[in-house]
């Protein structure tokens, strides 16, 4: 009796043991199969798949340039003292803002805010022009106006002290200061040096018109920094290598960015100690605003008429950009329309 009971108990016990074993063995097999499948799925025999793959950005074909109406001049030059009217006059000369901005456009304005200097020192774009330009663009029906630059010195300080921050915000533009997450690798086909380079991409998302606003400055290495050199502020990464071939780099910048138009801020020029300056004695007032589709024409005008270097040959980057058919620095052969304001 008890023996029979014992054997029945043993049977039950063994069955339980068997179930337990099968359950555990099943789990082991399942875990092993899962791990194996995972390893197979993630398998990277050369180690290449594990490396980061940067997103490559391309700007639209033909850049942000717009058609030129037949009546428009190539270079609009306004002289005077009232900045909004001068800007209006210069832009009207090259076809009027309506030729560039359509209602609903998202417009990026790129001033030069590279250094932490007050506007009077001429190291940065005149905030009055930035402000007037934003209003002009908004009145033309732009949906959104953005202002962006990647300065050399601390960005918040540069935007604040130059006055560009207040000018932009008060005029209703959105300000873009560079954040670490804002950069993507830009592909510039045909560039000599910056075919792949970190680019301040965030402000460009959804943009369809780009306007550069640059001061006229002496530069220690490339001789003059104007609308072409201004695009330097859209790049990130190891910009301090650019001096090793600054002219080649500026020619690359012309290739990289085809703006809708540029404004050369010749209200004052920094004629020496550039590009930082720092003394009013480095600056002279020239009371001029130039608008142009052709950056080289504008900069050449700046070199000869504003920096007053009539007798000196243009810096080498002009020739390199011309060789790539990126503009015409011989502005005297172009249709220049000058207006005098007030």
């Amino acid at each position: 009796m008890s023996e029979k009971n014992d054997s029945a108990g043993l049977q039950t016990h063994k069955a339980a043991e068997r179930r337990n074993f099968l359950k555990q063995a099943g789990m082991v097999a399942g875990a092993a199969a899962g791990a194996g499948a995972g390893a197979f799925w993630l398998h990277d025999p050369t180690g290449e798949d594990g490396k980061p793959k940067p997103k490559i950005l391309r700007l639209p074909e033909g850049g942000f340039a717009v058609e030129k109406p037949s009546t428009a001049a190539d270079l609009g030059v306004a002289r005077g003292n009232r900045v909004p009217a001068m800007l209006q006059g210069a832009v009207d000369a090259i076809g009027g803002i309506g030729a560039f901005i359509n209602p609903g456009d998202v417009v990026l304005i790129k001033p030069n805010v590279a250094f932490e200097r007050v506007a009077q020192l001429g190291a940065t774009s005149n905030p009055e022009i930035v402000s007037a330009l934003i209003k002009l663009v908004r009145d033309a029906g732009a949906k959104e106006v953005r202002v962006a630059d990647n300065p050399i010195e601390a960005p918040e300080n540069c935007f604040m002290r130059s006055g560009v921050r207040d000018a932009a915000v008060d005029a209703g533009a959105r300000l873009y200061l560079p954040r670490p997450s804002d950069f993507e690798i830009l592909n510039v086909p045909g560039a000599k040096w910056i075919e792949q380079w970190p680019f301040f991409a965030a402000p460009f998302r959804g943009v369809n018109k780009v306007i550069g606003v640059a001061p006229v400055k002496d530069h220690n290495l490339c001789r003059a920094s104007m609308t072409t050199k201004n695009w330097y502020g859209l790049l990130g990464g190891r910009r301090n290598q650019f001096h090793q071939d600054i002219h080649g780099i500026i020619a690359d910048l012309c290739l990289m960015m085809r703006p809708s138009f540029v404004v050369l801020d010749g209200t004052r020029v920094m004629f020496r100690s550039g590009p930082t300056g720092g003394s009013l004695s480095d600056v002279k007032m020239t009371h001029t605003i130039v608008a142009s589709r052709d950056m080289l024409a504008a900069d050449s005008f700046g070199w000869h008429e504003l920096l007053g270097r009539q007798d000196e040959a243009l810096p080498d980057y002009f020739a390199q950009a011309v060789a790539r058919k990126l503009g015409n620095p011989d502005y005297k052969s172009l249709n220049v329309r000058e207006v005098q304001i007030g």
Partner: protein, 581 residues
Amino acid sequence: MSEVIVRPDWLKPNKDNSPWYARVFRITNIRVVCQFVFFALFAFLLWATWFSRLGGYPVSMFLEVDPLVGFATALSTGTVYRWLWRGMFVLVPTLLFGRVFCNWMCPYGTLHQFIGWIFNIRSNKDRLNSNRYRAGFQLKYYILTVFLILAAFGSLQIGLLDPICLLVRTFTVAFAPALDFWAISGNTVIANAGLDVDLGWISSAPGSPEQRVFGGAWLVGAMIIGLVGMNLVIPRFFCRTLCPLGSFLGLLSRFAIWRIDRDVTKCTDCDLCLKGCEGAADPQSALRKSECFVCFNCIDDCPEDALSFKMAPLPVRDQIVGNIKKGAATLFGDQVISKDPETEMKAPDIPKRRWVFAGIGGFLAFPFLRMSKSVNERGFNEKAIRPPGSVAEPEFLERCIKCDQCINVCPTNVLQPSTLDEGGLEGLWTPVMDFAVGFCQYNCTLCSEVCPTGAIQKTSLPKKLGMDEFAEQGPVRVGTAFFNRGRCLPWSMETPCVVCEEVCPVTPKAIGTYDVEVERWDGAKVTLNRPYMRPELCIGCGICEHECPVLDDAAVYVTTIGESRSLDRQLLLKSPKKEGA
């Protein structure tokens, strides 16, 4: 039938029929709200310590109301700088009520209490035992003794452990870059998802083009994790054992007029008052006034209503002539046996010989630290470059509390907490500049604005730049830049460069060039602008070093020589009346 009024629980009277508001507005609840407000204010002020957020807030206020900062700098300098008189705001309540600061205002105390509360897994009995006084809690008085003696000699070390300095430093060096990191990571995810949201408000450094980094952040981070984690072992470990501000206030609280009082006729010796005692102040026997944080938990927890907060009664020995401690006193000539025990211990319970030992430690610590050839005038690190406006090194060490507010506000990340390398132990966590990380922003004087102790003296922009009435005195120089021609591209590699000259912010530029045309090895002709330094013009801002393309060991670099704050560390022979600029 009478109408039944249904009330929510919190509106019902207590068991003893006291009204609902007596429960809701309990003093311990009010204390919690007060702690929350002060903590939030503290966090806000740290968050606001940034160029675009400053807006006139008194961002260093907590450091200024820290009476230990005021007292110790008064010892070391003989003066009370700028806003440090605000220490009175804490001193006066301490003299009236005891260490209220510790459990009502101190953000670090609040952090400890909160962590201890939220991770508490102790049974009531364990909690009771964990709040008994331990002899080890004396340590903070010895720490304070050593710090104050060091301060009197001119080496301010309170900042190593002062809770406000420690917390500000931890935020700046460890927590703020973590916030930035989360904001940057979040922004990347958001951008990849094609959304237009900015997490910059989380970041402690919005508008900063790069993730900020701080030397030795791991150590500062490990310290706070360790110290806060100790609450799981011993509640309020830091406050009870290490805090020099707590011990300073503990010594002062002997004068407090009000204190926790135990009615011995009601007390049943159940020890339940220990359950929530934050300070381990022995409310169940003779109250240790120097340890009590005045948290009022004991009053809350007492089932017999034996505890109250009131004006301390006259000491027993003044009521009865004689020595009560020994149990024998005389009353009108007759010897009586008193059952009234001493109800309080005014001063910390520390044997005199141990004070003496700690004192000797302080006396020895000063020469040990100062003669270590790190911040010594005869042996200093050439890279220990102090922010502009700093006083000369010996005076700097009298003033700097290592709070690192200057480092927090620095827009370019150039200011770094010194590691043992630059400042030795004495200068640990004091601000030094690392031009590999950033550069001194030309028009910026924020570090001098936020410094609570004048280690960096409040410096106006004209004064920093040597303009207007400061023209004769010249600009503030923090060091001088030198060229290492062997690594300089135009000097040794036939490659054009001069980024250094481009970015030099002074006018006329402190970097000039010798322009030569050379034929390169491959036959190409290149124009090289070979830079040289004009030391009379260099202010040591270091932007040349920061922007030099020879990244790892820059071809132009700044060292401390020529810094205006030191009469000794001058390079050029010049009359102090006549500057080259």
